[in-house]
């Protein structure tokens, strides 16, 4: 569990790594060359054996997703990189893109080749303007060096890549909303099925992967799926970027093997909890939608998909938000409810109305206007959202509320009863 910065952040601190010349000195595009000498099927097999799971939140196996793309289908195939990065607490993809854009481009060429796609898009959140500039520059360099475009390096493979900026809508991170947005529409999620693997961008087979997922691919090609699968723990293999923010002494993005104890991640990487471990109140382990963990759980929990699910939470995008004892949990969750109300696309009634209710009730509890029965009302609103919506944004809004009430009900009750916080 000691080998950090193995895969994704290996070259991130190298000056000029965003330029082709420096990236190539570090071996960029060598893995791509190797991949172009293999069959698509072989590459998919390698990624499957690596056990690489999608890093955008849901953890779906990447190789399996790629294998769903129909082979003998005359329609064009698309590869879309999800760089919308909007989940509060999450900021890992940004570092990959601004410091090592060629790693992402290389990963995309390999993935595109594996699924027989000739066109890729990077859908990047609009606010990341400078990051988009870095990407555009890197794409232009790659074109100039014939690493993109027609007949790449004379190997008879074509792959075009374009950067597409969003315009400020969290829901566009949801893959089908992203596709609508990329088609120049409102970014509203689509009903599934059909899944993008069959009916995606422009109605064609489409693979959508997170930035970090695609950035893991070159190393898998270089060192092999078996090597990669030995990193991490069973079913959660490989390394993962964790964005550790909030009340820690050294917030930052850290690459570690999956399965690392949360306590070690916080203490050994992020400089410990502000005021010491005893000052810990709770940790949101995977981004704003994932239910909060209490200190007892934080003592022993491992940062793997399974362990966190077992603790009633989720690994999500790996965004660890640390809160010390000065934090009013009601206020923290109220802030998140406000976010989800703002970001609901409004298509489904349970989400549109439910996120509004949650935000309103959370707000009134927080500001001391809470009414008797409000806590149960919150839970009832949540259960009327969960599982009843087109996309997972509804669930994402409900989960942190339910999780917080589960662990901190007394604090909610205190707020309602006394009209103020027990923390200040």
């Amino acid at each position: 569990m000691s080998e950090a910065n193995l895969v994704l952040f290996k070259n991130i601190h190298i000056q000029g790594q965003n330029t082709l010349a420096v990236a190539q000195q570090q071996g960029a595009y060598k893995r791509m060359e190797k991949a172009l000498g293999m069959s698509g099927e072989e590459i998919i097999q390698e990624v499957k054996s690596a056990g690489l799971r999608g890093r955008g939140g849901a953890g779906f196996p990447a190789g399996l997703k790629w294998s769903f793309i129909p082979k003998d289908d005359p329609r064009p195939k698309y590869l879309v990189c999800n760089a919308d990065e909007g989940e509060p607490g999450t900021c890992k993809d940004r570092d990959l893109m601004r410091f090592d854009p060629h790693l992402l481009i290389e990963g995309m060429i390999i993935a595109g080749y594996a699924v027989n796609s000739k066109q890729g898009y990077i859908y990047i959140r609009g606010e990341f303007y400078r990051e988009a500039e870095v990407l555009e520059a890197a794409v232009a360099e790659a074109y100039a060096a014939n690493l993109l475009g027609k007949n790449i390096l004379g190997k008879g493979v074509d792959f075009d890549l374009a950067v597409h900026r969003g315009a400020g809508a969290y829901v566009c991170g949801e893959e089908s909303a992203l596709l609508n947005s990329l088609e120049g529409e409102k970014g509203q999620p689509r009903l599934k099925p059909p899944f993008p693997a069959n009916v995606g961008l422009y109605g064609c087979p489409t693979v959508i992967n997170n930035v970090e997922t695609l950035c893991a691919v070159p190393a898998i090609l270089e060192k092999g799926g078996a090597w990669y699968s030995k990193l991490g723990v069973e079913k959660s293999s490989g390394t993962k970027l964790f964005s550790v923010s909030g009340h820690v002494n050294k917030p930052g993005n850290y690459e570690v093997e999956l399965g690392i104890p949360l306590k070690s991640l916080i203490n050994d990487y992020a400089g410990g909890v502000r005021g010491g471990w005893e000052n810990l109140k709770g940790v949101i382990p995977g981004g704003s939608s994932t239910p909060v963990l209490i200190p007892e759980q934080c003592e022993t929990i491992l940062m793997s998909y399974e362990a966190l699910a077992g603790a009633g939470s989720m690994l999500g995008a790996g965004s660890v938000i640390v809160m010390d004892k000065s934090t009013c949990i009601v206020k923290a969750i109220a802030r998140l409810s406000k976010f989800y109300r703002h970001e609901s696309c409004g298509q489904c009634t349970p989400c549109r109305e439910g996120t509004g209710w949650l935000a309103q009730i959370m707000d009134r509890i927080e500001t001391g206007q809470g009414r008797e029965g409000d806590i149960d009302l919150l839970l009832s609103v949540c259960s009327n959202i969960q599982g009843k919506t087109i996309c997972a944004l509804g669930d994402a809004a409900a989960m942190p509320v339910v999780g917080a009430i589960r662990h901190f009900r007394d604090e909610f009750e205190y707020h309602v009863k006394h009209g103020r916080c027990m923390v200040d």
Binding site: E127, G166, E183
Partner: protein, 170 residues
């Protein structure tokens, strides 16, 4: 030819039209609507930092889209300003990681310095102040964005200093 002309009808410069061509080329020829978000962004940059009804109509005409398509999209996304904004658009993130790290103090300091509240523009039209959701820089909280740039690891003092510098430049 100029008497007191009505507000000029917006139109892209030659240079902007070239950019539009580059944008079109990213998408299949029969999927031109894909260019709508980037073209609206370009229009906003070309036409004073916001999208008037006339600007949207211009984009609709240019791209051969029904105006309603353009309005729908322009109103869905928060980065399109549907009313004028100041020369410097200060967007303070107050989401969870920034809040935990003191974004309230940042917001207060900037409000005091500019003598406006969230959602307002200074009288000289130099600054608009907005409260925004997570900007994806959470490990460097608290932070704000001004136009295309991020300013991270802020303190109330550095926040005000950044504003001062921009005010002096303006």
């Amino acid at each position: 030819m100029s008497e007191i002309a009505p507000a000029a009808k917006p139109a892209f410069s030659q240079e902007a039209l070239k950019k539009v061509e580059t944008i079109y080329n990213r998408y299949p020829a029969d999927k031109r609507q894909s260019a709508l978000l980037p073209v609206l962004d370009l229009a906003q940059r070309e036409f004073g930092g916001w999208l008037s009804r006339a600007s949207m109509d211009y984009v609709a005409e240019l791209m051969g889209l029904a105006p309603i398509r353009v309005y729908e999209v322009a109103t869905f996304y928060t980065m399109y300003n549907l009313k004028p904004v100041g020369k410097h658009h200060v967007q303070v993130c107050t989401n969870i990681s920034c809040w935990l790290c003191g974004s309230d103090g940042i917001g207060e300091a900037v409000k005091q310095r500019l003598e406006i509240e969230y959602g307002q523009t200074t009288e000289d039209g130099n600054f608009t102040l907005s409260e925004v959701e997570c900007l994806g820089a959470c490990v460097n909280a608290p932070m704000f964005q001004i136009n295309d740039d991020y300013y991270e690891n802020l303190t109330p003092e550095t926040a005000v200093k950044i504003i001062d510098e921009l005010a002096n430049k303006a």
